[in-house]
C-alpha cells in the first residue's frame, strides 16, 4: 500500500494523478479462511482490522452482500459521543470516541473527525434531572461531560430559541470532545488498511447459509460458492435476525426503519451537534453546509430502508420550534436504514449457541459512533474468547436479567 501524504499529493499532481492505486483489492474468495466476517460495514471492517492489528490474524475475509459501507454506515447522521449512563456503555463508547481521535493517523486515511462538541438539550424538568445524573455518572466513568446553563447554550448555538412556547431550553448536557466524522471514509479507511494486511474484502457476495457440524461452525454458503472458516463473525446490523436464523438461533432483536434527511446547503450557522430528545430531533451542519437532521424510528418491523413521511414531519415541526431560522429551508433528500433494536436498547457482542460463531448486532439507532470500540472489543472476543469491553453485552444477559438499560441510546425517546 502506498501511503497517503502531502508528498504523495504533490507527486501525483505532477503526473496528472495517474499513479494512485486502488484503495483495496477485490479478490476472488479462497476456499478457506481462519476468520470470516459477514458484513463489510464499519463494525465488520473494524473487527477485521483489529483482528489483524492487535492479534496478528490476517487470514480473514469480509463478505458483503451489497457494496462496502452501503448499509447503515452510509446512512447515519455521523454523530460521535460517549455520554452514556451505564458503565459498560460508557466504557465501549468512550473507547470508540478516543480511537476516533487518532483514527486518521492510525489508518493513514482522513476520516475528517471533527470534535466540535455534542449538546443534548434538556427541555423538561425530567430531562434536567436525567442529564445532571448522567454528567455525574460520566465524571465517575472518566468521560468528560458537563451540565451547562441556558446562557451557555445560547453562546455555543446562537441560532437557538431558548424560550420556545412549548419546549423551552432549560440547560444541556455538553460533551466538548464529541463530534462528527465522515462516515464513508471510516468504512473506506478500514477497508484499505485491511486490504493492505492481506485480508480479502469480497463485495456483491450474499451469504445464503451457515454450515455447521457437531454444533460447530465450519463455513458459509454464499452466492460465490462455499467458503470454509474456523471462526465466523456475524456483523450485519438490521439483517442479523435473518443470519441468525441460518445459523439456527433466535435473537432478541427487532428490525425497524430509522430515517434522516438533509437540507439544502447554507452558510455556516451552527458548529456543534445539537440533540433535542424530548422532541425527537437532532441536527448538525455538514462541511458542505447542509443541515443534517435525524428523527425517531418507526415503531413496527420493517426492512424497506425508506421510512415514513409523517416521522419527518414530526421531527422537522419540532425542530422549527427550537430553531426558527430553519423554517424556510428546503429539504434536499431523505433516506432510511434498517436498525436492529434489542430489548434494553444496548448492543449484543457475544458468543452464540453455535460454537465458533460470534455476533455483533443490536446497535439500534446509535452504531456509527461505536464502530472502532465495537471492532476493538469484537476482535478481542473472537481472538481470545473473552473481552472486558464486550463482557456485559453478551447474549445471555436477557435470560439472566442483566440488562444494560440505555433507552436513551440514540438521544431520542424510543
Amino acid at each position: 500500500m502506498k501511503r497517503y501524504s502531502a508528498f504523495a499529493v504533490a507527486r501525483e499532481a505532477a503526473r496528472y494523478h495517474l499513479g494512485w492505486e486502488r484503495a483495496w483489492a477485490s479478490p476472488e474468495p479462497k476456499k478457506h479462511y481462519d476468520v470470516v466476517i459477514v458484513g463489510a460495514g464499519g463494525h465488520g471492517l473494524a473487527t477485521a482490522y483489529y483482528l489483524g492489528k492487535n492479534f496478528g490474524i490476517t487470514n480473514v475475509a469480509v463478505i458483503e452482500k451489497g457494496w462496502l459501507g452501503g448499509g447503515n454506515t452510509g446512512r447515519n447522521t455521523t454523530i460521535i459521543r460517549s455520554n452514556y449512563l451505564q458503565d459498560p456503555s460508557a466504557a465501549i463508547y468512550e473507547k470508540a470516541r478516543s480511537l476516533y481521535e487518532t483514527m486518521s493517523q492510525d489508518l493513514n486515511y482522513n476520516v475528517m473527525f471533527s470534535p466540535r462538541g455534542v449538546m443534548m438539550l434538556a427541555q423538561t424538568q425530567h430531562e434536567i434531572r436525567g442529564y445532571q445524573r448522567t454528567a455525574h455518572a460520566n465524571a465517575l466513568q472518566g468521560v468528560q461531560t458537563e451540565w451547562i446553563s441556558p446562557a451557555r447554550v445560547k453562546e455555543l448555538v446562537p441560532i437557538i430559541e431558548l424560550k420556545g412556547p412549548r419546549y423551552p431550553v432549560l440547560g444541556a448536557l455538553w460533551q466538548a470532545r464529541g463530534g462528527t466524522a465522515r462516515h464513508d471514509a471510516v468504512a473506506w479507511g478500514y477497508a484499505r488498511a485491511c486490504s493492505a494486511m492481506g485480508m480479502h474484502i469480497i463485495q456483491q457476495c450474499e451469504v445464503t447459509g451457515v454450515r455447521q457440524q457437531d454444533g460447530r461452525v465450519t463455513g458459509v454458503t454464499t452466492s460465490k460458492g462455499e467458503i470454509a472458516c474456523d471462526k465466523l463473525g456475524l456483523v450485519v446490523a438490521g439483517h442479523s435476525g435473518v443470519l441468525a436464523e441460518m445459523a439456527g438461533f433466535r435473537l432478541p432483536v427487532e428490525s425497524v426503519a430509522l430515517q434522516a434527511l438533509v437540507s439544502e446547503p447554507i452558510k455556516p450557522c451552527m458548529d456543534v451537534v445539537v440533540m433535542a430528545n424530548t422532541v425527537h430531533g437532532y441536527m448538525s451542519q455538514s462541511d458542505k453546509g447542509e443541515m443534517v437532521i435525524g428523527g425517531g424510528a418507526d415503531g413496527y418491523n420493517n426492512y424497506t430502508q425508506r421510512g415514513s413521511f409523517h416521522h419527518i414531519e414530526e421531527t422537522v415541526r419540532a425542530l422549527i420550534e427550537t430553531f426558527p431560522m430553519i423554517s424556510r429551508l428546503k429539504m434536499l433528500r431523505q433516506w432510511g436504514g434498517i436498525v436492529d433494536m434489542t430489548g434494553d436498547r444496548s448492543p449484543i457482542l457475544s458468543k452464540t449457541p453455535l460454537e465458533g460463531c460470534f455476533i455483533n448486532c443490536g446497535w439500534g439507532t446509535g452504531g456509527f459512533k461505536a464502530i472502532p470500540g465495537s471492532g476493538w472489543g469484537m476482535a478481542e472476543l473472537m481472538a481470545k474468547g473473552h473481552s472486558p469491553l464486550t463482557e456485559a453485552f453478551s447474549l445471555d444477559r436477557f435470560r439472566e436479567g442483566r440488562f444494560i438499560d440505555e433507552s436513551v441510546a440514540a438521544g431520542v425517546a424510543h
Partner: protein
C-alpha cells in the same frame, strides 16, 4: 404511508392513527414455566424479512387491538383480523399463500 383496515370500525386507517404493538401470537408464559420459555416469551422475536404477524391498536379510533399480516420487505398488507384468536384465521393464510406461493408459517 402504511394503511391498515380496522376490523372493528370497518374503516381503512393511516399508521398515524395506530400504535404498533409488536409480534402477534406469542405464547404467554408465566409462573411455573421454565427459564427458556420465559426468556423466549419476553425477548425472542421472529423478526422475519417477509411475512409477519403483528399487533396494532387503533389508538385514535375505537382503541381496540387487532392483528395484521404484513410483508416487512414490501409493506404489502395481506389482511387484518380481530385479536380474539391464537392462530391466524384460514382466510388470512389463504390470502398470504395466494400472493406468496410456497410460503409456510415458521413454528
Amino acid at each position: 404511508m402504511l394503511t391498515l383496515h380496522c376490523p372493528y370500525c370497518d374503516v381503512q386507517t393511516d399508521e398515524t392513527e395506530l400504535t404498533p404493538g409488536g409480534e402477534a401470537h406469542l405464547t404467554r408464559h408465566g409462573p411455573g414455566s421454565d427459564d427458556d420459555a420465559f426468556h423466549d416469551y419476553l425477548f425472542s422475536r421472529a423478526n422475519p424479512r417477509g411475512v409477519h404477524f403483528e399487533r396494532w391498536r387503533h389508538g385514535y379510533g375505537c382503541g381496540k387491538w387487532f392483528l395484521a399480516a404484513r410483508d416487512t420487505r414490501t409493506l404489502e398488507v395481506f389482511g387484518t383480523y380481530e385479536a380474539q384468536t391464537t392462530e391466524p384465521p384460514d382466510h388470512i393464510l389463504a390470502a398470504i399463500r395466494d400472493k406468496r406461493p410456497g410460503w409456510t408459517r415458521a413454528s
